[in-house]
């Protein structure tokens, strides 16, 4: 049998941003009809590499070869011309436009002066059928599901004649069902002769769909393996560079009285629909309740409602005997709620403030920090010093804006501040997003320590692994409702995955 031809080859790619080396001497080959996984942790340099392939960045050193010819990949247009398409992690879709308008953008067919939408949508419909994508060309993006939007992105690359499709973290925002469908679509594309690169850090998907896997760590290629000859453990070890523990050490929980009780909670999302639709649950002192679910099923609205940042339409929130429904964030905080927000740059920190200024963000108005409207700078500094010392926060100096700190150290500062408020309930939303392995372990340990101190902890995460490792009890959110409640030792990924897709516990679907 003839060896399938190599359609894309990278030779010795190095990319530096100033002092920072994002990619170092990376070589990589993609064959026709192959699904090639690019595995690595957050910040390992996968996305940078693919942005180079797609012409968004220029490599500092090295060369790119397409179909055996060296090419200068200077713009996305060049990449498109060479038959390379990219589906970005954050979709590049114009919300108020239709599917057709999004797909043809940049290479619109014309009839006379007008955009020829008719012929465009029939071509799109035909492509959609050929690859089993089931996309409605006349639907508006803002009205279709995330999974459908992703298929629009794939269709966009196919419409442009892509033979090589790069998918950047394609499953991060999908339900397990949608993931299954996506993997099937990928196989179908490969069988039709398309070559696919999938960037991911999820081993399960690689095992299921990829032919080859190249592992990148700290900007370097560690190894390239044939997937069917490998194992998840081998891949994981190569990814993080040491033996991984799949379990976090923790003692059994000893839950006491309920400390946070939510009853029939209803909250509207930004679009006016009920994003949280009749939720009831309890968190007891001394336990970690994990909220599992795919992003966009009401988690953000639930947290905002609990912390006073979003209006509650109906229902009760009882925080250790105090009703905190529609109270301001400050009153909720004073009643004993701390909150590690999902987006630390948007909510958790003022990036242009210094470490002391951020350390007092929640408590600046208290008498120990402000007297008669005047702030006590020294008190803020000593508080910051305390956090820096006890949480081992690495900073260039107290007086620099926290913008200059790494993500892990920023998160440590937030956790120090929120724990120091001595809450009764700690809400942690995606507390390890974008952190490296060391920082993740640190965060998990702190959450468990808080639980051991008799606090109630509500952990919202889109990572099943995190929920399974850290939570004592799990509730599953789908479409703003709880579809199941279980314990980590009584369930598995498959069962949780089904619930996250809307299958109610105990059988009947939806």
């Amino acid at each position: 049998m003839a060896q399938p031809e190599t359609v894309l080859e990278l030779k010795g790619i190095t990319k530096r941003f100033g002092e920072v080396v994002a990619n170092e001497d990376i070589s990589f080959a993609l064959k026709k009809g192959e699904i090639h996984a690019l595995l690595g942790e957050n910040g390992a340099g996968k996305s940078t590499l693919m942005n180079i392939v797609f012409g968004l960045y220029q490599p500092t050193e090295g060369s790119i070869w397409v179909n055996g010819q060296e090419v200068l990949m200077d713009t996305p247009n060049r990449a498109i011309d060479l038959g390379i398409g990219m589906v970005h992690q954050h979709f590049k879709l114009v919300q108020p436009f239709t599917v057709t308008e999004n797909i043809i953008l940049g290479m619109e067919p014309k009839s006379g002066l007008r955009t020829d939408l008719k012929s465009a949508s029939s071509k799109i419909r035909q492509l959609s059928e050929q690859y089993g994508l089931n996309v409605d060309p006349s639907a508006k993006i803002e009205n279709i599901s995330v999974g459908m939007q992703q298929r629009v992105e794939i269709l966009k690359t196919l419409y442009r004649g892509a033979d090589i499709v790069i998918l950047d973290e394609p499953t991060a925002v999908l339900t397990p069902q949608e993931i299954t469908e996506l993997l099937a679509i990928m196989k179908r594309l490969a069988s039709e002769g398309k070559s696919i690169i999938i960037i991911t850090h999820k081993l399960k998907e690689i095992m299921e769909v990829a032919d080859t896997c190249t592992i990148i760590r700290r900007g370097r290629v560690i190894d390239s393996v044939v997937v069917k000859d490998s194992s998840p453990r081998e891949l994981a070890e190569k990814m993080v560079g040491r033996e991984v523990r799949f379990k976090t050490d923790k003692s059994a929980a000893d839950p006491k009285q309920p400390i946070l009780s939510v009853k029939d909670l209803k909250v509207r999302g930004d679009n006016g629909q009920m994003a949280v639709d009749g939720l009831s649950f309890q968190v007891r002192a001394g336990e970690i309740v994990g909220v599992a679910g795919v992003d966009g099923n009401g988690q953000a609205e639930l947290i905002e409602a609990l912390t006073g940042m979003r209006r509650v339409e109906e229902g009760e929130i009882d925080l250790d005997g105090v009703n905190v429904v529609n109270k301001t964030p400050r009153v909720v905080g004073q009643s004993g709620m701390s909150h590690i927000p999902q987006d630390r740059h948007k909510h958790g920190l003022v990036l242009d403030f210094t470490v002391p200024e951020n350390a007092i963000l929640q408590t600046y108005y208290k008498p120990e920090l402000t007297k008669g409207g005047l702030m006590d700078h020294n008190a803020a500094v000593s508080l910051a010093e305390k956090y820096v010392k006890s949480f081992d926060i690495r900073i260039p100096g107290l007086d620099v804006p926290v913008r200059a700190m790494s993500g892990g150290n920023q998160q440590k500062l937030i956790i120090a501040r929120e724990i120091d408020r001595r809450p009764k309930v700690l809400i942690a939303a995606q507390p390890t997003r974008g952190l490296d392995v060391g920082a993740i372990e640190f965060v998990h340990k702190e959450l468990i320590a808080e639980r051991n101190n008799g606090k109630g902890v509500l952990l919202v995460s889109f990572e099943l692994e995190e929920i399974m490792n850290v939570a004592d009890r799990i509730i599953v959110l789908f479409n703003g409702q709880i579809v199941g409640e279980t314990y980590p030792d009584q369930t598995n990924d498959q069962e949780l995955g089904l619930m996250m897709a809307g299958r109610r516990q105990g059988g009947d679907s939806n």
Binding site: T307, H339, K346, V350, L374
Partner: protein
């Protein structure tokens, strides 16, 4: 010396300086093209500023409203908002001070103080309206400011014509002497330059602005909202009331501009077809001064001197004073687009390198 070097290396220091130099140079080029003598023009400008004690006093008088306008814009800027409505707040401040000064009888000193307070209050309320429209109805502050500027102007015309018209002129009646805040002996010392208590109040406001921003709880909240509104909300700050408070203070400072002009300089209010433009100058002052107290002080000194000196320029070198307005707009352009300066410097460096090698 080393400290000075370090200071000069900071962008926030050299960008304004280079902007000023570029502005002045382009002004000179424009004058050359127009057939004027730029050296004569600039030297008569400087002569006008320092020509006599009177001129120095009047230059200072010109600087006072610019400092206030700069601070009014700067405080809103720091809160992430844009006060383009200082114009209207000045008008309302003038009107408030005029009404108290003209329509009410009070003993001296007290009369002035009451008039100042009312003027500031009028401006403050007019400013707060902008923030209220923004937080309650989502109305963009730029649009509401512009509308409120014109509405304020016509309200002042209507009020003056109805209650304080001076027959046969296009201005109001004078304020009572008891409400004047001019400092007679100092004015005499400066050969009649119109020096008033506002000079000293402005210094207090400058220092107060620094303390408010950097040392008070309200200043901390203001900066937090300006840098990151979402984080401020998360931290339990009431973003809406901070916006209203900030626009009230901003408007009150704007109101003081009009108040001082009426009580200390003109003693009446003119019925003019347009607002003064001082509020727009405030944007330039705040921008060049990077919204800091010291920066605002320095940049308003520069602009005030340029404006006053421009009269000398048209007198001494026959150059239209619009040239100075062009110079000032060019300075703002470069201060707002530091990228342009960096490009200039890069080109310059490359050139000098080539010449060396």
């Amino acid at each position: 010396m080393n400290n000075l070097k370090r200071l000069l290396r900071q962008e926030s220091v050299w960008i304004p300086i280079i902007s000023i130099v570029i502005g002045i140079v382009i002004g000179a080029i424009v004058m050359l093209i127009g057939g004027y003598d730029p050296l004569l023009a600039y030297s008569s400008l400087v002569q006008k500023i320092f020509g006599s004690v009177y001129d120095v006093g009047e230059t200072l008088r010109q600087i006072v409203p610019l400092i206030l306008a700069g601070l009014a814009v700067a405080i809103a800027f720091r809160g992430g908002m844009f006060n383009i409505g200082v114009e209207g707040q000045i008008v309302m401040g003038s009107l408030g001070a005029l009404m108290v000064g003209n329509m009410i009888d009070l003993p001296p000193i007290i009369h002035g103080i009451v008039a100042i307070i009312v003027g500031a209050l009028f401006g403050g309320i007019w400013g707060a309206l902008v923030a209220i429209f923004k937080v309650k109805r989502g109305l963009n502050e730029v649009i509401s400011c512009i509308m409120l500027n014109w509405i304020a102007l016509y309200i002042s015309h209507i009020t003056i014509k109805a209650f304080m018209a001076e027959a046969g002129t296009s201005r109001s009646q004078m304020i009572h002497d008891s409400a004047s805040i001019q400092i007679q002996w100092l004015s005499d010392l400066f050969n009649g330059a119109r020096i008033h208590w506002g000079f000293f109040i402005v210094i207090f406001i400058l220092i107060g602005y620094y303390y408010y921003m950097n040392r008070t709880k309200w200043g901390y909240e203001l900066r937090a909202v300006g840098y990151n509104k979402h984080a401020a909300e998360y931290a339990g700050m009431n973003v809406s009331s901070i916006a209203i408070r900030t626009f009230f203070i901003s408007g009150a400072i704007g109101g003081l501009i009009g108040t001082f002009e009426v009580l200390g300089v003109f003693k009446y209010m003119a019925i003019a077809a347009n607002t003064s433009g001082t509020g727009f100058d405030g944007i330039a002052v705040a921008l060049l001064g990077m919204n800091s107290a010291l920066g605002v002080f320095l940049s308003s000194t520069l602009f005030g001197a340029l404006y006053y000196g421009a009269q000398g320029m048209s007198f001494g070198a026959d150059v239209p004073p619009e040239v100075i307005k062009m110079v000032i707009s060019i300075i703002i352009f470069f201060a707002a687009a530091p990228g342009a300066i960096r490009m200039f410097i890069k080109m310059f460096k490359r050139k000098s390198k080539r010449e060396e090698g």
